[in-house]
């Protein structure tokens, strides 16, 4: 077992009386490509910020590459890339100035990659000298991604990286993520609501709910194991299924159970009046996070 790149234990965060993170334990292994899912307001951004030491938790510890996140060395910092959900810093600078400014902080800076991405993502000379505040939301997001990729990070954390991009922009971003990032063995953690993008690139999923990681696993395993079992209460009430996530009882006495332990349900599906259905990622998202 390789050492985890990010290790968090007992992470807690409150805003006023609201508990956002509640003793959260999570580990990210080297080379993982993990999608973080959760409903709006579940605390995904707070979690990512705490993991990177950008926000101080009320409880718990986070270690990145074995170092306490509150006291990261410059060398470790240089291994991390981060795309915040919304970056409203440096708005008075031009893209050219901002990239030049950041370049000074990093021992390694991939000029060729930056120039190539600027060119491919539509930053012509004119736009590179325009104040960032004058760029559109999508252009700012693209710039933020370029900045995060410029020093070839070994750990890339992205918070809703494509929320402002149109489908073409999203596809271009995915291709860059696949070709320029994942192929290099970079560890990637990203939050998104766009499940179709997630399915294309993430190998692992983690669902954030009630301040904890409610469910995590390989995307393929989760899809293959997720089932909804619907049948009469007389038959299902006494049965406890492996990997049960949710159990509901309708007015008419029909019981609906969602599980992620799909194997072994085939026999149950033979029973009269029982239906066993596979779930899509969207179904699973709704069932796990509701």
């Amino acid at each position: 077992m390789t050492t985890a790149i990010i290790q968090s234990a007992g992470l807690g965060k409150h805003f006023g009386s609201a508990t956002i993170l509640d003793g959260l334990d999570w580990q990210i292994a080297p080379g993982q490509v993990v999608g973080l899912l959760g409903r709006n307001g579940a605390g995904k951004s707070t979690l990512l910020e705490c993991l990177l030491g950008l926000r101080e938790p009320d409880a718990g510890v986070v270690r990145i590459y074995g170092e306490d996140v509150g006291q990261l060395s410059d060398a470790t910092r240089a291994r991390i890339g981060y795309v915040p959900q919304k970056s409203d810093l440096f708005e008075w600078m031009t893209p050219r100035q901002m990239l030049g400014y950041f370049k000074a902080f990093y021992p390694r800076w991939n000029n060729a990659k930056v120039d190539n991405l600027l060119l491919r993502w539509g930053f012509d000379k004119l736009m590179q000298d325009k104040p960032i505040s004058k760029l559109s939301g999508g252009e700012q997001q693209r710039l933020s991604i370029i900045r995060a990729l410029a020093h070839d990070p070994e750990l890339l954390v992205l918070d809703e990286p494509v929320s402002a991009l149109d489908p073409v922009g999203r596809r271009e971003f995915l291709r860059e993520l696949i070709d320029g990032v994942i192929e290099r063995g970079t560890t990637v953690v990203f939050s998104t609501h766009i499940l179709s993008d997630l399915e294309r690139v993430a190998l692992d999923l983690a669902f954030l709910k009630d301040g904890k990681i409610a469910l995590q696993g390989r995307l393929d395993d989760l899809l293959e194991g997720a089932r909804r079992v619907v049948g009469p209460a007389s038959l299902l009430d006494g049965k406890r299924l492996a990997g049960e996530l949710r159990r509901q009882r309708a007015q008419d006495g029909t019981v609906s159970i969602v599980t992620h332990g799909g194997a072994g349900l085939a026999l149950l599906g033979q029973e009269a009046g029982v239906r066993v259905e596979p779930l899509s990622l969207e179904d699973l998202f709704i069932e796990v996070t509701q």
């Binding site: 490509v33 596809r171 995915l174 291709r175 696949i178 070709d179 994942i182 192929e183 499940l195 179709s196 399915e199 294309r200 690139v201 993430a202 190998l203 995307l219 393929d220 899809l223 293959e224 997720a226 239906r275 066993v276 259905e277 596979p278 779930l279 899509s280 990622l281 969207e282 179904d283």
Partner: protein, 132 residues
């Protein structure tokens, strides 16, 4: 090559079937139908990943599974090709296995509609005749 890969496979997100499974089934179908013959090369993992915007691990998982099942073989040097005994040599039983997922779905719906086996089977026979 990129275009080749893009035309060869189509995946759909939002399905209950994992993407690597979709790729496996598509290759099997192409081979069973003779659209790909033994010795035909497959686009590289990287090309498929780029063309379909997929994690390369997903594509190589599909290829490895197909290799294990004897549908694909690793080429000396690089890449994958359709295995010698795949395709035409594939027995009716193996081709029938490809139909199973579709029939399983149909069977599930038939049960939901509370149809008895005879009704369903005779309907299927009728449809087969219509298509012939």
């Amino acid at each position: 090559m990129t275009n080749h890969a893009a035309h060869l496979f189509a995946i759909s997100t939002g399905s209950s079937e994992p993407i690597y499974r979709q790729l496996v089934d598509q290759v099997k179908r192409l081979v069973a139908a003779g659209q790909m013959a033994p010795g035909d090369g497959l686009p590289s993992v990287r090309d498929v990943a780029q063309a379909l915007a997929l994690n390369p691990m997903t594509v190589s998982k599909a290829y490895s599974l197909l290799e294990m099942e004897g549908v694909l073989a690793r080429r000396r040097g690089m890449g994958m090709e359709v295995a010698a005994r795949a395709g035409a040599a594939q027995g009716a039983q193996e081709r029938a296995a490809l139909l199973r997922p579709t029939l399983e779905r149909a069977a599930m719906e038939a049960r939901q509609l509370e149809l008895d086996s005879d009704t369903v089977v005779s309907l299927f026979i009728q449809i087969l005749k219509e298509q012939a």
